[in-house]
């Protein structure tokens, strides 16, 4: 059984990398994340805080580029799910490998591994690149001691951010297979990911405080809570709990996708 899994993983790996767009997407995702962090970090300063002096989350600020990188990663995930349907290649895949759950699992493994690596690179680079900028903007001791990479909250935030991007890509994969339409799946996932930022962002919520809090807790973007390294009043949910929420969405989407794959004609 592992022999077969290994074979199919290798095949999906070849498929994944033999399309030019994949390489570019990952590069763009990393670049956009780092660029976004740079831009936001260079503008941040200790004079303006969202919730009072001296409690900015420096680590979270260094990882803000992910807000932008997630858009690229969503698209990549959806494409891995839908591109074979567009060309009819899905039939060839299923004649080569009749086990449909196996195909889904290996696609998820390949996509997940690639985005995880890109996500970790992006997160680490973002963090490292942002530190000097933030320092020069006034984030210095004693109010803001320099965060050390090898401490638990910092590592958790960085690695967790890589995981966040991975989970989001997998959610795109699941949604792509469920809907089988590229445009619809990207639109749906982007809408679900970003709407909470419109209506429930702390500070200027359109919704009432209670509803906004609830939305920030249950939407997929709750996963970004993993970036928190300080306790703040406006935190909706704990870091791991937030990532767990996103995990739940991913599991549900992939399960539904697997079930549909086994039921539907190719």
């Amino acid at each position: 059984m592992t022999g077969e899994f290994g074979r199919v993983v290798r095949a999906e790996w070849t498929k994944f990398w033999s399309v030019r767009g994949t390489r570019w997407s990952l590069l763009i995702a990393v670049a956009v994340t780092i660029a976004g962090t740079l831009l936001l970090a260079s503008e941040s300063n200790t004079d303006v805080t969202q919730a009072g002096q001296g409690d900015d989350d420096v680590v979270a600020i260094s990882l803000r580029g992910l807000y932008f990188g997630q858009l690229v990663v969503i698209t990549l995930g959806v494409l891995v799910g839908t591109s074979e349907y567009a060309t009819g290649l899905i039939r060839t895949t299923f004649s080569a490998v009749p086990g449909r759950s196996l195909v889904l699992a290996t696609k998820a493994v390949v996509l997940g591994a690639a985005v995880a690596v890109a996500g970790l690179v992006a997160s680490f680079a973002s963090f490292l690149v942002a530190q000097p900028l933030l320092q020069s903007n006034g984030y210095v001791a004693p109010a803001y001691p320099r965060p050390s990479l090898v401490t638990e909250p910092v590592l958790r935030a960085i690695i967790g951010s890589g995981l966040f991007l991975t989970l989001l890509a997998l959610l795109g994969l699941g949604l792509g297979i469920i809907l089988r339409r590229t445009g619809g799946a990207i639109t749906a996932l982007v809408a679900v990911t970003f709407i909470p930022l419109f209506v429930a962002e702390p500070g200027t919520p359109l919704l009432s405080e209670n509803v906004a809090m609830w939305v920030r807790r249950t939407a997929p973007i709750a996963g970004l809570a993993i970036q928190q390294t300080r306790d703040r009043a406006d935190a909706a949910i704990g870091p791991w709990a937030g990532l767990g929420v996103l995990c739940g969405y991913v599991v549900a989407a992939l399960a539904l996708a697997g079930w549909l794959l086994s039921r539907r004609d190719a």
């Binding site: 074979r7 039939r91 490998v97 009749p98 004609d265």
Partner: protein, 314 residues
């Protein structure tokens, strides 16, 4: 394993249309079996069901005595060409075959070998989106051959090939059958299969119309008539009638004679010193036999069906 495809009561409905209706047949090893029917008859749907891509509403199909889904390395047992356009346009031909090979544990050397076999080696590094229809067809055939399978299922393999390619694939398909494989070729054009197929499975509107060898089909369709050309036609006609033949005039100087063999006609003419300029047995083409058979089952006919070639009623 036995090189066999067995379909048993395959039925598939799409909404209110029954695409395949209780279809049962066997495809055996060592010969080329043509799968023929008008457009929309259900050929592609049937092939997809055999490959486990579409789920039949009733019935099932076995390949080598097993269901397709149960095969560990299906590409090594069954090679299928369904849709030449089913390639990612941005992917190189070589990589398309490479991932297929990897998925079934087929050695990498086979990729180069099949590319060589179909004549695509010069463009192996090209992106499939740039390929002409004929090239994509060849790529699909290469993919079907990758695992060196005992069973081959090809859906319209001649489509898009230039004349040289058509000749090549006919010979190739025959040689594969001669090696003992079961070759199942679907086509909506009987003329493509003439000279290639040994056995025919003819369907129309999803139902089986005929499951017969090519020889039997031709034999039953042809009426054994002869075309005779002689300058002294009027003189010859009563002679032939007296000998028991049914004779009719044909054009300006021909006779159509049924009921006598060619040797008898020649002897009758020689006895009376009547010169014969032509004595030809009337051969029905496979296409004529097939058209006659499926006349009632064509879904998409353009205008009225063409008259029978010899002008005679069936």
């Amino acid at each position: 394993m036995d090189a066999l495809i067995e379909a048993d009561g395959l039925t598939k409905r799409f909404g209110r249309t029954t695409a395949v209706d209780h279809l049962s047949f066997v495809v055996r090893a060592g010969r080329v079996t043509g799968f023929v029917g008008p457009n929309g008859a259900g050929k592609s749907t049937t092939m997809r069901m055999i490959l486990g891509l579409d789920r039949p509403d009733r019935g099932g199909a076995l390949v080598g005595g097993r269901s397709y889904q149960s095969l560990r390395t299906p590409l090594r047992e069954v090679g299928a060409l369904l849709d030449p356009a089913a390639v990612h346009p941005g992917r190189r031909a070589y990589h398309h075959l490479q991932w297929l090979a990897q998925s079934n544990g087929i050695p990498r050397a086979r990729v180069g070998a099949v590319l060589e076999l179909v004549g695509l080696t010069p463009v192996a590094r090209g992106r499939a989106g740039r390929f002409s229809l004929g090239m994509r067809q060849r790529l699909g055939i290469a993919a079907a051959l990758l695992g060196d399978p005992q069973v081959l299922m090809l859906d319209e393999p001649v489509n898009g090939l230039d004349p040289e390619g058509v000749i090549w694939i006919r010979g190739f398909v025959r040689s594969l059958a001669a090696e003992g494989r079961a070759v199942f070729v679907a086509s909506h054009l009987m003329s493509e299969l003439e000279g290639t197929a040994d056995h025919l499975i003819i369907i129309g509107r999803g139902r089986l119309i005929a499951d017969t060898s090519v020889a039997d089909l031709l034999g039953s369709a042809s009426d054994g008539s002869l075309t005779v050309r002689t300058p002294r036609r009027a003189e010859f006609m009563p002679v032939l009638s007296a000998a028991g033949a049914t004779v009719s005039s044909n054009g300006t100087d021909r006779l159509s004679v049924t009921g006598l063999g060619a040797e008898q006609v020649a002897k009758l003419a020689a006895d009376r010193r009547l010169p014969l300029y032509e004595l030809t047995p009337h051969r029905v083409t496979l296409e004529q036999a097939y058209l006659r058979l499926t006349r009632d089952s064509v879904d998409y006919a353009a205008g009225s069906p063409p008259p029978d070639d010899a002008g005679k009623a069936p």
